[in-house]
Symmetry: C2
Subunit: 256 residues, 2 copies
């Protein structure tokens, strides 16, 4: 049954959506059946894939609230082996709406259970926060992929992120592990980027992926065309870096 990966980091703008979309694209091209679930009310995953959010009545919100069966919220992305559950603004209200509800942390996990055998990988694109939706994602996940921007301020939240993963592992989900740390927006022009990578290697020696994703203007342009990197910039440096990371993660998950 499918491996559930939470793509998470509470620091904003570090490349969670870009990593989730492009790693899923690379997994799907290698014939893995992939489902991407957007857990962020901003809904950037659908946009990045050129999937319209007009008339979106069945989204991650309805799945977590339990008002629609998860299977009915699944839509195609027009790439083979690659499905999506899009997010809408409504998702930012679930924390308050479910505050009194029993087993609220397991809503996503229980919903995913019914479709898990249809996919090899289920990726959860998380919001920049450690709130209710992120805890739901960690409770549902087998493993966590941590995109980390090669910038100084991105280091600050690492201990807190590790702490919450440990707490969820102890209380809600004993099978939770860390799959990998993906260094993003690596800018070779500055010493700082390498210093950040060295620091992260000390913090996550086993989990850090060896290939950093370089900062690339084309990576920030691709979403405006609704295209993934291998579609928009097939020979680009960020594209080949994501391909190497995808192959690394496939080996770590024993999916080869």
């Amino acid at each position: 049954a499918g491996i559930v990966i939470a793509c998470m980091n509470q620091k904003g703008g570090v490349g969670k959506t870009t990593s989730a979309v492009n790693l899923c694209g690379e997994f799907a091209r290698r014939n893995l059946r992939v489902l991407l679930i957007d857990c962020d009310a901003q809904g950037n995953a659908a946009t990045s894939l050129g999937v319209s959010k007009k008339n979106l009545t069945k989204s991650t919100y309805e799945v977590i609230m339990g008002t629609e069966p998860i299977a009915s919220a699944i839509q195609p992305t027009n790439r083979p082996n690659f499905d999506l559950i899009a997010a809408s603004e409504r998702l930012s209200g679930v924390q308050v709406e479910l505050v009194d509800s029993d087993r609220r942390e397991y809503r996503l996990s229980e919903a995913i259970a019914s479709i898990r055998t249809k996919y090899d990988v289920i990726m959860l694109d998380c919001p920049p926060a450690l709130g209710f939706v992120s805890v739901n994602a960690l409770a549902a996940a087998n493993t966590v992929c941590i995109p980390l921007q090669c910038e100084f301020l991105a280091l600050e939240g690492l201990a807190q992120l590790k702490n919450i993963i440990d707490r969820v592992h102890e209380s809600l989900n004993p099978k939770l592990s860390i799959l990998g740390v993906v260094m993003t927006m690596y800018d070779g022009r500055t010493n700082l980027a390498q210093q950040v990578v060295d620091e992260v290697r000390r913090f996550f020696p086993v989990h850090i992926c060896n290939t950093p994703i370089p900062r690339s203007v084309r990576a920030s342009e691709a979403p405006s065309y609704g295209q993934m990197l291998y579609e928009y910039d097939p020979e680009g440096r960020a594209t080949t870096a994501y391909q190497r990371v995808a192959e690394d993660l496939i080996v770590r998950m024993n999916l080869k």
Copy 2:
């Protein structure tokens, strides 16, 4: 009495902390008395200013919970006219802890009321979310400063942000207005940046600031030295751009 500015955008990594810190620095150098309140559990404001968070027992969390008087949480930044209330990880728990509490949206507003006359500007650095703390900040604010990254995905959340500002204006805080939209990380190498600026000018014709902040490696290095831009890179393009924006905002607030 002091003008309260919420520095806000639910999109992550768009330059909220960088803008809050550097605009405050420029206001303080022009002899305005400034207080920066970090409303983000990541606590990047203190780090950006070289202020230690060791033994931080009086932070934004205690202020919102009401367990410490706000005056006791104020600390100096070693720059004249510039004080700080730092944030700690504890802040990410307030939404659940205060869910049953009366007038919970007004906690920050009521706390600020007692020190408001000591400052000309009180800046609130918000987290990348539209949750409880952000609503508290909007309820306390006179006006909103919106940093907006010149990238395609940053456009997606604009309508939602405007929507929540309107809703808070109607229900919690009728005096709330928009002070300005600051375009950040403008990269002249790509057409996309100018297209984003043009789009934002259509959406916020009156509020957009004319000077975009250029993308600059030195801007991302300054926090690692605990320095503001005018201290780390006094002649830099991002530094002079923030100076122009600060002067523009001072005129808009009638503080000249």
